[in-house]
């Protein structure tokens, strides 16, 4: 009884801290510099991509490399519909179209064994890129599109809104029966099916939800780039980076991918333009080291340190 009350108090404290942090962030354009607003928007974008990747791939263990595909679909939706629809509607449209594509793709592929799924999602990015390229060259006769400009503060707030919605979704999925079903699929899919979990439905729907947020993030980010073509929109790096960031942070806890993405995205924004090769090289080395020595990521490392400190504390 005592313990549960403690946990309850703890989680209330977390809620309070989260809301205060979020309010501080939301007010940031009022006191921060224009450059930092753009920087933080990019960091939040990576957090959104990483957390939405982890919603599906974290518990189920199906490694999806389709992030760039859904992100790109969002970008292109904004490019096509940005002038006709109000901003928020276009962002939602980007998310919805990604959601629908994910449902179709998921229904086809999620019955496949893990490794086929990885290969398939990897190819999906290139498939959509080449079909769009073909469409643009032969049907519409264009190469790339211009996008309506929107001021940086609005982009920031919309991105923050997507982030908030995503964190709430992620939190409730983890806490619900639905999240339990997802984890049971990751542990042992056949056993989960025998226990009465509608395995395919849960997988496909979660895949769709994660794609929704990737698409929405793509749609709002598109307004910052002013010009896109299929090569810009469907960059496979956006498939790889969320995986690396999630592993770096650790997927055992909700905040793992957030920390991993925030740290890495900050470094990326600061270093990628100055030393791209050395940055990506370090990236690869860190990834390999983490997989071999710290498979639970930074969060696992922190938990291990905390446990050791507690034990020392108990001993003295």
């Amino acid at each position: 009884m005592d313990i549960t009350r403690g946990v309850f108090k703890m989680s209330r404290l977390w809620w309070l801290i989260s809301v205060i942090l979020l309010a501080l962030l939301a007010a940031f354009p009022l006191y921060g510099s224009a450059y930092n607003v753009i920087l933080i928007t990019a960091i939040i974008m990576f957090i959104v991509l990483t957390v939405s990747w982890a919603i599906f791939s974290g518990p189920t263990g199906y490694v999806s490399l389709a992030t760039a595909a859904f992100f790109g679909v969002g970008i292109y939706t904004m490019a096509v519909l940005g002038e006709q629809l109000p901003l928020l509607a276009a962002v939602a449209a980007g998310g919805l179209i990604s959601f629908i594509i994910a449902l179709i793709v998921g229904a086809i592929t999620l019955r496949l064994k893990g490794i086929y799924f990885i290969i398939f999602t990897f190819g999906l990015v290139e498939l959509i890129k080449h079909l769009l390229l073909y469409w643009e060259v032969t049907v519409t006769g264009t190469r790339g599109r211009f996008i309506v400009l929107i001021d940086n503060n609005t982009i920031f707030w919309v991105m923050l809104g997507i982030f908030t919605l995503l964190m709430l979704t992620s939190y409730f999925i983890r806490r619900s029966k639905y999240g339990l079903a997802l984890r049971s699929i990751g542990e042992n899919e056949e056993a989960a099916a025998h226990l009465g979990v509608n395995v395919n439905l849960v997988k496909v729907f979660t895949f769709g939800i994660s794609a929704f947020f990737m698409g929405a993030a793509g749609a709002i980010m598109a307004t910052r780039w002013t010009y896109v073509d299929p090569y810009v929109a469907f960059n496979v790096l956006f498939s790889f980076l969320p995986v690396l960031m999630a592993i770096f942070g650790g997927m055992g806890q909700l905040y793992g991918p957030v920390i991993g993405a925030a740290l890495f995205a900050y470094l990326e924004e600061k270093l990628l333009t100055v030393f791209p090769e050395y940055f990506m090289l370090t990236f690869g080395i860190i990834l390999v080291l983490f997989i071999v020595y710290l498979p639970d990521g930074l969060v696992g490392l922190i938990q291990r340190l905390v446990r050791r400190l507690r034990r020392q504390h108990a001993n003295t």
Binding site: L131, T138, G284
Partner: protein
Amino acid sequence: MLVSVLNIVINGLLLGGFYAIIAMGLNLQYGVARVLNIAHGEFIMLGAFITWAMYSIFGINPLLSVVIVAPIVFILGFILQRTLFTSLRNKAPSQSAFEGSSMLASFGLLFIIQNVALIIWGGDMRALSFYNFGINLWGAVFAANRLIALIFAVVIGIGFYIFLVRTRIGKAIRAAAQDPATAGLMGVNINLVLALCFGLGAVMAGLAGVFISMCFPIYPVMGLEYLIITLIVVVLGGLGSIPGSFIGGFILGLIGSIVSSWQPSLALAAYYVIFMLLLVVRPKGILGK
């Protein structure tokens, strides 16, 4: 008409030769060592750039660099399997956990190898165009280097198959592919066999790189492009089936050549469409078990 059909077929076979050896290498690594090596394309790139460097610095004939490239990439692959992938294999609680973690680790390798190459050689495109004179085949004209590459690909493919079927080590490799634990109990040095397979897989990619450097422009980030095609070939032929990869390579080369002759920009898209249909209808591939 006949000449243009012949043209398309021979072009497809020439392209298919590259795909076949690259895919056999990847399939050897996945089928035996259970590592879906995303960095496979980087070994192609290494092979191509070592050949280019040997030619432009020492003037070594690209065909001779086969002898230089093969041991270098073999040792690299061998060491990677002995250190990185063996330690992951020992730590993994299950086979599928190992497949996941080793694939992610090979991602890391992709970034490492690619960016080391970018630091050394820069991002420019380079072309070696070696033996680039025409050969007339029944009215259709082909570059000599492509024909040499095709002959080598067929020789390597068949030679490797004979090695698997006829030698003792080949038998050990096949046993390890079926059931590593039991093969170990029967006295097969399993760690050695896995490392050997990984090294040989890397050699196939490296040799493909040698021939690619003779025929096509090369650049440090070329690996990913070849990797995607390779993955399609491997699934087409059957994951784990070496003869399947060999045949699948030629089939995909032919398809690519046919589609290119009609709509060049759609060749890659056609690969994916076939790939998706295949995954839906028959994910095991042509010769999969």
